[in-house]
Symmetry: C2
Subunit: 379 residues, 2 copies
C-alpha cells in the first residue's frame, strides 16, 4: 500500500534548513541545505539547453568523479548563469565552503541556483551564512528549505510517498520550485527528491529517467527551456530494505517515484505565472508514446490554443491544426476531440488520433494578459 | 537594373478582379480572381501541416495532372477546412464553375480559401457571383483582388519588381494576406505571385523554393502553422524573354523573386495581430544556414523573448537561453548579442554564435496583451 502526503516529510537520516542570507533584497529565505548524514547515491537530470548555468556544469563534473553525495546547497535570488568561468569558480567555491562545514569533500556535494541572471553570486553573503545554515539542520528544517528555493512561486511544492518493501518502510520526499516562468529573468525548475531506499545506481538512473519523462518532461508553460533546470535525487539506503535492482521491487519504487514527480509537476503548472487555467491534454490512439507526446506538446505550446483556453473558447480547429503541425502523421477524419466545460479552472482536453494504442498526458496553462504583464514589466 | 514598387502592377496578359459575393457578412470584398489570358506555368508551395484544408488538397491534385494554368480563384471569409470530403467536393465545384466561365478546364485552375473554419463554403453565393467576377476582369482589377483576399489584415500587401533580360522587361507582381493570426479562427498566409517571365518549370520550382525558404519560412508570429498556407506563382512567358533556365538569367530572376517574397513577408509581420514591434533577428557565425535559422526561429518563437520586446526590456539572458534551447551546438562564451534601442517600433537583434560563416535573418513581432485579446475574445 502506498501512502501519499501533500507535504514534505524527510526520510531517515535526512535533514534540511533554509535561511535568509541576503541574496534576496526582500530578506526572504534564499539559501537551502539538504543533507544526509550517511552517504547517498545520486541521480541527476539536467536541462538539455546547450547553454547551461555554472552550477549545472559543476554538478555534472562532480557526478562523473564521485559515487556518493551528502549535501545539496541551493540558493535562490541569483541563477549564477551567463557568468562565464567566474561563475564556475563561484559555484565550486560554494561547494567547497559547504563541504568544509560538513566535513565532506566538495565532490560529495551538489549545488543549484535560481534567480536573477548574469550577476555574480554574492559569495561573502553565502560564506557568512553557512555556519548558521549547518547548525540549524533538522528534520523539520525542510519547512524552511522548501521555501528558500522559491523565487516567484506562489506556494511551496512538496510531496511525500511512503510504501513498504517487506517490513521496511521507504519514504520518497520531493520539493520543487516552479517553471512557471519564475524569477525575474528566467524560468527555472528545480526539483529535489530524497529517499531512504536501498537501491542500485542503475535502478536509480532508470527510475528517475522514466519518472521525469512522464512528469516534468510532460509539462509546459510556454515551451521555454531554462539553463538551470535540474532534477536531483539522493538515496541513502537508511531504510535497510532488500536492495532494489530489478524485478517487482523496482516496479514499486518506480511507481512511488513517478507519483512524486507527477504531483510536483502538476503543482508547478498550477503555479504557472499569470495562468488562470490548469489544462490536462490527453492524446490517445498514437502508434507510439513519443508520437502522442509530440502531438500533446504541440497543442500545449500553441499560443492560439492557449489564448482560446483563456478566452473559454472551445476552438476545435486550433486543436486539430496544432496537432497537425506536430509533424506526426494524422488524418483529419481520424481525430476526435472532447473538451470539458471551459468555465472551470481545470480543463481536460481529450484528443484521439486513431492510429494505435499509445497515449500521453501533458499538463499546461493558458496564455493570459497577466503572463505578458509579469514577463514584460519585471524591471 | 531592378525597379521596385510598393504596389501591385500586373504583368503582361494578367488580369484580376475582386467582388463582394456575400461570404463575409460585413459585405466587404470576399472573392478574388487572378487570370492569365494565355496559359501559364505554376509553382506552388503549401503548408507542411499534416492537416490540410480542402483547397490545398485539390490544388495538389491539379498540379499533378496539369502543366498549365490560367486562373486562381480565392475566397476570404470561409477557409473550407475541417470540412471533410464535402469540403473537397466544394473546392472542386468552385474550380469547375470558374473554369466553365473562363472556358478552360478545372485542372487549369487553382483555388484558395481563408476565413472561418469548419463551415461549408456557400457555393450558391460563389456561383451567382462568378459572371460578374469574370466580366470585371482587368489590369486595374488587382486593386480589388488584393483586398478581396484579406480577412483581418489591416492593409493590403503588394509588391512589384521589374527587371530586364536583354531588351525584354520582366515583371514580377505579388500580393499576400497575412499570417498575423488572421481570421477569427486561424492563421492563414496566402501569397499569389504573377510574372510574364519565360522560364522553365524546373527554374520556377527552384527559384520559388529558395525564395520562400528565405522569406515566408523566415517569419513567425507565434509559431502556429495554418492548414491553408499557400504560395502560388503563375508564369505566362508573355514577356518573350530568352528562356530562363540556368546561368545568369536564373540568378537575376531569383533575385527579383526573392525581393518580392521578402518584401511581402515583412509586410505580413508588420501587420501581425496585436503586434507593437517589428523585430528583425540576424543570427551570424553559424556552421550552416539551417543552424542559423534554427537559432533565429528559436529566439523568435520564445514567448519570453517576445514579451521582453513588448516590455522594451533588453533581456540578453532570454536571447541566449532561447538560442541554447534550439538544439544547435553553441557555447555561452562565443555568443555576442547586439540589440537596437527598444523604444522604437523597429528592433534589430544581432546574434553572433562564433561557429562559422553562415547567417540567417528572421522576422517576428512582439507578444502583446492585444494579441491575447484578439485571439481569446473573437466570439
Amino acid at each position: 500500500m502506498m501512502k501519499f502526503y501533500k507535504k514534505a516529510i524527510l526520510p531517515k537520516n535526512f535533514k534540511a534548513n533554509g535561511i535568509a542570507c541576503g541574496i534576496k533584497k526582500s530578506k526572504k529565505l534564499d539559501l537551502a541545505l539538504f543533507y544526509s548524514d550517511i552517504k547517498a547515491k545520486a541521480g541527476c537530470l539536467f536541462t538539455t539547453n546547450k547553454i547551461q548555468a555554472a552550477p549545472v556544469q559543476v554538478c555534472k563534473r562532480y557526478i562523473k568523479s564521485s559515487k556518493n553525495f551528502n549535501a545539496i546547497l541551493v540558493n535562490s535570488g541569483n541563477a549564477n548563469c551567463f557568468t562565464g568561468d567566474t561563475g564556475i569558480r563561484d559555484a565550486e567555491l560554494t561547494a567547497e565552503v559547504i563541504a568544509r562545514a560538513l566535513n565532506i569533500k566538495k565532490q560529495n556535494t551538489l549545488v543549484a541556483s535560481t534567480g536573477i541572471i548574469a550577476r555574480r553570486l554574492p559569495l561573502n553573503l553565502i560564506k557568512k551564512a553557512i555556519p548558521q545554515l549547518v547548525a540549524g539542520l533538522s528534520k523539520q528544517g525542510i519547512g524552511k528549505a522548501k521555501r528558500a528555493i522559491m523565487t516567484t512561486d506562489l506556494f511551496a511544492k512538496e510531496v511525500t510517498v511512503k510504501f513498504n518493501i517487506g517490513a521496511k518502510e521507504i519514504t520518497i520526499c520531493g520539493v520543487a520550485k516552479g517553471a512557471g516562468m519564475i524569477a525575474p529573468h528566467m524560468a527555472t525548475m528545480l526539483v529535489f527528491i530524497f529517499t531512504d531506499a536501498n537501491i542500485t545506481q542503475n535502478a536509480i538512473n532508470k527510475a528517475l529517467s522514466i519518472s521525469v519523462d512522464n512528469s516534468f518532461n510532460c509539462i509546459t508553460v510556454d515551451g521555454c527551456m531554462s539553463t538551470n533546470d535540474s532534477v536531483m535525487l539522493l538515496a541513502n539506503a537508511a531504510s535497510g530494505n532488500y536492495l532494489i535492482d530489478k524485478g517487482n521491487n523496482f516496479t514499486l519504487f518506480l511507481k512511488a517515484l513517478s507519483i512524486t514527480c507527477l504531483e510536483l509537476a502538476k503543482m508547478i503548472i498550477r503555479d504557472a505565472e499569470g495562468a488562470s487555467k490548469f489544462i490536462e491534454i490527453k492524446v490517445r490512439g498514437a502508434k507510439k508514446f513519443e508520437h502522442a507526446k509530440k502531438v500533446a506538446l504541440s497543442i500545449a505550446n500553441s499560443n492560439l490554443f492557449k489564448t482560446a483556453m483563456f478566452g473559454e473558447n472551445p476552438n476545435f480547429g486550433r486543436i486539430v491544426a496544432s496537432a497537425g503541425a506536430s509533424g506526426v502523421d494524422i488524418k483529419e477524419k481520424d481525430i476526435k476531440i472532447k473538451v470539458s466545460p471551459l468555465n472551470k479552472n481545470d480543463i481536460f482536453v481529450d484528443v484521439s488520433i486513431g492510429r494505435g494504442n499509445s497515449s500521453c498526458v501533458v499538463y499546461t496553462s493558458d496564455l493570459t494578459p497577466e503572463y505578458i504583464k509579469i514577463n514584460a514589466e519585471y524591471n
